[in-house]
């Protein structure tokens, strides 16, 4: 009796371990159609096999939340600029594991140097799409300089300045890496936008996952996993991650249609955005006017429309000097009364 019970228990455990082995090979490969056939045959063999397989794969899928767990804890610790001193030992361990991986990634993806690069650049107002050998796609926004590693692999890119949208064909054994000032983005199967303006970088994740790593020399390496909706803003020594609705992240992509989407954006910021795309610049001359907020969509090159909105809806004075446009409160008027004097 007890013998039989023992055998029965080890049978259930044994089936689960078999299921674990199937999932492991499916997860890490190689996985051929022959493997799939073998798996199907195993699943058909008995309902117990199917159950075990479903149970283990459900748990494995559930562990996807690990990314969220990890990215929230790293975001918290990075904005505070202190190492994670959690009493929870595994958190520290996770940190160590990530660090180990980050260091490993350096060895895998050697920073530009000996590699030969091909330079792609767009002018102010320009836009260009690069199609890579592996099926990945890069779209360059206005005034952008990007270097692409030469050779068949083309999995390494340096974004010198500007903004680019990446649709990366994932290859686990050969990660796609974007180098930035003091940081690096490693895709884990992704669509994302990166903007580099010299002072700070902004990474918005549209789909999939990506890993953002700091590569500042002299500082401890740090890695954060970004999930869709995450917007990371990093500059020398600081890293903030906010999570936005997908619509808001989609807004960061509107330039691909040549549009600027403003949502409660200050006129000053809107003008700065417009100026990225045009040789003719807009200047908002007083701070009161630049703090007015505006919501709407307009073509990135449509300076006339911008001026019209300023004049018609905000009652501002618009003046053209040369090619540039100057906007300010009309003289003598104080459109925004102040409560405190």
């Amino acid at each position: 009796m007890s013998n039989e019970a023992e055998r029965a228990v080890s049978a259930a455990q044994g089936i689960e371990e078999q299921a674990g082995r199937w999932l492991e090979s499916q997860e890490l490969g190689p996985w051929s159609s022959q493997d799939q056939q073998n798996l199907n045959a195993w699943l058909e063999e008995s309902t117990a096999h199917t159950i075990a397989y479903l149970r283990v794969s459900a748990a494995w899928q559930r562990a996807d939340r690990l990314q969220a767990l990890l990215s929230t804890s790293s975001a918290r610790s990075s904005s505070k600029q202190v190492p994670d001193t959690s009493k929870n030992p595994w958190k520290v361990r996770l940190g160590v594991a990530v660090l180990v991986c980050a260091l490993g990634a350096i060895a895998v993806a050697l920073y530009p140097g000996p590699t030969e690069y091909q330079v792609f650049a767009t002018t102010v107002g320009g836009r260009e799409t690069l199609k890579l050998n592996d099926g990945s796609k890069i779209e360059l926004n206005t005034d952008t300089v990007l270097r692409l590693a030469k050779g068949t692999e083309q999995r390494e890119v340096v974004l010198e300045k500007g903004e680019a949208y990446f649709e990366v064909h994932h290859n686990a054994s050969h990660p796609f890496v974007v180098h930035l000032t003091g940081h690096r983005v490693v895709d884990l199967g992704t669509k994302f936008v990166i903007r580099e303006d010299g002072r700070k970088i902004q990474v918005s994740l549209v789909e999939g996952r990506a890993r953002l790593e700091t590569t500042d020399s002299g500082k401890p390496d740090r890695a954060v996993i970004l999930i869709p909706g995450d917007v990371a803003v990093a500059s020398r020594g600081s890293l903030f991650i906010s999570h936005r609705e997908r619509v808001a992240v989609a807004r960061a992509l509107s330039w691909r249609q040549g549009l600027l989407v403003l949502s409660r954006t200050s006129l000053g910021d809107a003008a700065r955005e417009m100026n990225r795309y045009n040789h003719e610049k807009i200047f908002i001359e007083d701070s009161q006017a630049s703090q007015l907020t505006v919501t709407g969509t307009l073509a990135v090159s449509d300076l006339g429309e911008f001026a019209r909105i300023a004049r018609k809806y905000f009652g501002l004075a618009v003046e053209r000097r040369g090619a540039d446009i100057f906007i300010r409160q009309p003289r003598g008027s104080h459109a925004v009364p102040s409560n405190h004097s």
Partner: protein, 195 residues
């Protein structure tokens, strides 16, 4: 001696599902009940080392029944199946008295709104995941994190941990199996072989 049939407790049936739909249904509707089911089994069955096996048998019965007709309401069906199975097992073994099979109603496992239960599960998920990771052997945790979070390949994991690729496979396969147990059964033991 005839076994108690599960089908008579089905109040109303759903449509017939394809294999894929059936698998998705099982993951969506049945697996989330595992914690409650395991608790019920532990309370009702003396031989604790048989729980895993009993659960698997019950799952098989549920799955087989759903092949014919999708049971509804699900929760009542799961626990009725569980009780019937325990009674049948008790009769067979003649060791455990039938009275040791606890009454479903006394356990407060009424047919709650399953949607609500799933929401709670979603909210509890992160906390649960953390506890689960806490209990895993460090090596297993490492391979899970490297795969899930860093998306590393087998060879990359092997290089970082300084172990061979087959060893990575072994660790990850076992870690996956262990995850399934830990997620749903707080008293699950990790059966870890020596490295």
């Amino acid at each position: 001696m005839t076994d108690i049939e599960d089908t008579h407790s089905v109040k109303s049936g759903g449509q017939k599902l394809t294999r894929e739909e059936l698998n998705a249904w099982f993951i969506r509707e049945i697996i989330p009940l595992e914690t409650a089911l395991t608790r019920y089994l532990r309370r009702s069955w003396r031989a604790q080392d048989e729980i895993k096996d009993l659960r698997q048998d019950i799952y098989v019965r549920i799955y087989e029944a759903a092949k014919v007709k999708v049971p509804h309401p699900v929760k009542a069906f799961v626990f009725t199946t569980a009780r019937n199975h325990l009674i049948n097992q008790a009769r067979r073994s003649l060791v455990v008295g039938i009275e040791s099979v606890a009454d479903i109603e006394s356990l407060g496992i009424a047919d709650e709104e399953p949607e609500l239960e799933r929401q709670i599960i979603a909210r509890e998920d992160l906390r649960r995941l953390q506890t689960v990771l806490d209990r895993l052997p460090p090596r297993w945790r490492d391979v899970i994190v490297m795969r899930k979070v860093n998306g590393l390949s087998r060879s990359e994991i092997a290089a970082r941990l300084g172990i061979t690729e087959p060893t990575v496979s072994w660790h990850l396969g076992r870690a996956m199996t262990a995850l399934a147990g830990l997620f749903h059964d707080e008293r699950a033991q990790i059966e870890q072989a020596n490295e």
